[in-house]
């Protein structure tokens, strides 16, 4: 059975392809013959990622807290939006 994380990774991979191919790379300025309906494609990609994250969060909330020996590993220093000082403070909410 595939893990939700794998599915999310695949979907993020798809959005990375769509964003890159439609929005980045060199453009042949002045000689482009067609236009691209890129907005719809990008919107679709974003929706895929958004729904994936929400699904993953729901699935993870149903998992048991203990994962056996693997779950007992030491917690490394975490990246935190407010920086290392706040990350070291377990009471901080950022």
């Amino acid at each position: 059975m595939r893990m939700p994380q794998d599915e999310l990774h695949d979907r993020v991979g798809l959005i990375e392809v769509v964003n890159r191919v439609l929005d980045k790379g060199v453009a042949v300025t002045g000689e482009v013959v067609i236009g691209v309906g890129g907005v719809d494609l990008i919107f679709l990609g974003l929706q895929l990622v958004l729904s994936s994250v929400e699904t993953l969060d729901r699935l993870e909330s149903l998992r048991p807290l203990s994962r056996g020996p693997e779950g007992t590993r030491a917690q490394p220093r975490r990246l935190h939006p407010s920086g290392p000082r706040a990350a070291a403070d377990p009471s901080g909410d950022g």
């Binding site: 890159r20 000689e31 958004l50 990246l79 935190h80 990350a87 950022g94």
Partner: protein, 247 residues
């Protein structure tokens, strides 16, 4: 005679051969046009290229094939069509064979770290409270004739909270992306950071030398496991789409 559409995928080193069975958009064979020390990979299409997820993936597959074989591949954006191979040859000459761009990405691949803020956490909790208040009819009726004014005030308060929440999300995304990028700087040649509003988060693109790709991936994945308030996913190697510009 029908107009010839020359669909361009990428520009790469001249000595690299296209795999024999490689096809691109509309299942058309991929061909090369050599000019000096560079070669353009293209297909001849009978009609305007289809616009779909499958077409985007087909475009990327051709560029990936070049990336696997050449030291320097300049990806071209989807949908670039020229009127025949002579127009393509002129274009390559005008751009000096994309020599500057090829030098910039030579020996490198791109990786992406997509950072997604967790919905419902942090600033989102404030916004949820704002929405609850704005939709609470009891707050409007409690003041009798002032209901209209109160609902207007609630709306403005909710709007202010939304703006505050968006600003906080941007700050969080930016801080996470910067923190991750700084830790990976010793392993990369260049980087780009883009903030995204929907879904909230950021994308860090890294240009990484192939010889350091394994070390980069190992470190990036380790960091990605420990993002607080969201999650991060590492993808790649990609052709260096984010590190070439213009045309």
């Amino acid at each position: 005679m029908a107009e010839e559409r020359t669909y361009l995928y990428c520009v790469t080193d001249a000595e690299v051969e296209v795999p024999a069975a490689l096809t691109g958009l509309a299942d058309q064979p991929v061909q090369t046009l050599r000019a000096g020390d560079c070669a353009a990979w293209f297909s001849v299409l009978e009609a305007a290229p289809p616009v779909s997820i499958a077409a985007v993936q087909a475009h990327n597959a051709v560029v990936q094939a070049a990336l696997e074989r050449a030291e320097a591949t300049v990806p071209v954006r989807f949908g670039q069509v020229l009127e025949g191979t002579e127009a393509l040859r002129r274009h390559l000459e005008q751009q000096d064979g994309y020599g500057e761009q090829r030098a910039r990405v030579r020996g490198c691949v791109e990786f992406a770290i997509r950072i997604l803020l967790r919905p419902g956490g942090g600033a989102d909790a404030d916004a949820g409270e704002a929405r609850t208040h704005a939709a609470d009819p009891a707050r409007g009726t409690a003041r009798g004739s002032g209901a209209g004014a109160d609902s207007g005030t609630s709306y403005l308060q909710a709007r202010a909270r939304d703006i505050h929440r968006q600003r906080r999300r941007k700050e969080q995304s930016s801080a996470l992306a910067e923190a991750m990028a700084e830790r990976l700087d010793p392993l990369v040649r260049d980087r780009r950071i883009e903030l995204a509003e929907q879904p909230p988060g950021a994308m860090v693109a890294h240009l990484v030398q192939r010889s350091r790709a394994e070390a980069y991936l190992q470190e990036a994945r380790r960091l990605a496991e420990d993002v607080e308030g969201g999650r991060a996913l590492v993808t790649g190697p990609w052709p260096p789409y984010s590190f070439v510009e213009g045309g």
